[in-house]
Assembly symmetry: C2
Homo-oligomer: 225 residues x 2
Amino acid sequence: MAPDEIKRISLAVIRRLPKYHKCLGELLQKNVERISSQELGRILGFTASQVRQDLNNFGEFGQQGYGYNVKQLYNEIAKILGLNTEHKMVIVGAGKLGQALAGYTDFERHGFKIMALFDIDPKIVGSKVRDIPVYDMKDIIYFVNENEIDIAVIAVPRERAQEVVDILSKTLIKGIWNFAPVEVKAGSNIIIENVHLLDSLFTLSYRMNESKWMERLARKDGKKR
Amino acid sequence: MAPDEIKRISLAVIRRLPKYHKCLGELLQKNVERISSQELGRILGFTASQVRQDLNNFGEFGQQGYGYNVKQLYNEIAKILGLNTEHKMVIVGAGKLGQALAGYTDFERHGFKIMALFDIDPKIVGSKVRDIPVYDMKDIIYFVNENEIDIAVIAVPRERAQEVVDILSKTLIKGIWNFAPVEVKAGSNIIIENVHLLDSLFTLSYRMNESKWMERLARKDGKKR
């Protein structure tokens, strides 16, 4: 099959994969061996057909009348997510956010190792966060290529983000995890993932408001009858 | 209708609402007046029936043969998300993460105003982040109740998170936005929303790995024929 025939999977499907991964991991811990698409959908809040459609993108995992083997599906999704290989990261920007992220040990537990931070501030360059060194931004191209870094975390102010991405575009970096609240552009060989904190805050806001909203809806329903 | 008859909407549906909100906002900016569930689903990566099912939870927005009125649906979803009222927040923990969040001006732009930070460290208490004062943790109950704060952001280390939530449970707070990478528990009158940074990192990891994965899948498909 020619490379241009290779199908691409929609980003929305991909964004649901970590949720499947987490859910299956929790089921595994509860010693659940198999699960139907209905049940998996119920836990995740998708329709059964959405679940089947999502997972069919990646191969034939389920069996009619049996459902999914939880352990097998969990391992397959981990592989699909690339969690079975080690990733090397650098954090660009050793300010408040960069240092907070460098202090977060959960990344490493999942195979994402932070190798260095980079900054332009001479007062910070040369220091360490945990055991992670802070280097001068001017050395980033050399460092990234030499150490086969595959992910750069952008933790610089909004107005510096594109500039940093332009520099990274000259390296062999493969992925950019962008915390700056601005859309950045890189060459087509670099994948950019933006962190959308507002989505999570909006969800909280809805849930705080839910009972009020539902009461209003119920009153409307009542009137119609 | 009795309060116990009020239906609850699954969290998964709610988590999709900010995506609808964002997408509709972008369509509005492009002067799109109406959209079908098929087209909205295509942009968001859901099936058309998932879109209709999601939105039907909140009322009757679409019209057969017409689709959705973009502006109306955008405004309704903003209302459902509680974005038409002002929220007052405090950040608990004025360390790296707390200060980084306090510096993030996008929250305020959407009606979420940060009124104060709280910390136990006497070296930080009394200082300011931007114009936001850092107060002593011992005053948080009084401050929250007196100023009708509705959201507390947890930006303390993992091992302090539950302790902070226990204190907040004695206040009139309605929502907790938890950045500590640990599950916390509060009374049933408080809504907790956890930030899952790993989901976003895993998505990046997948996308970096995608072409390799898709090639393997294509080879498998090829063999079968």
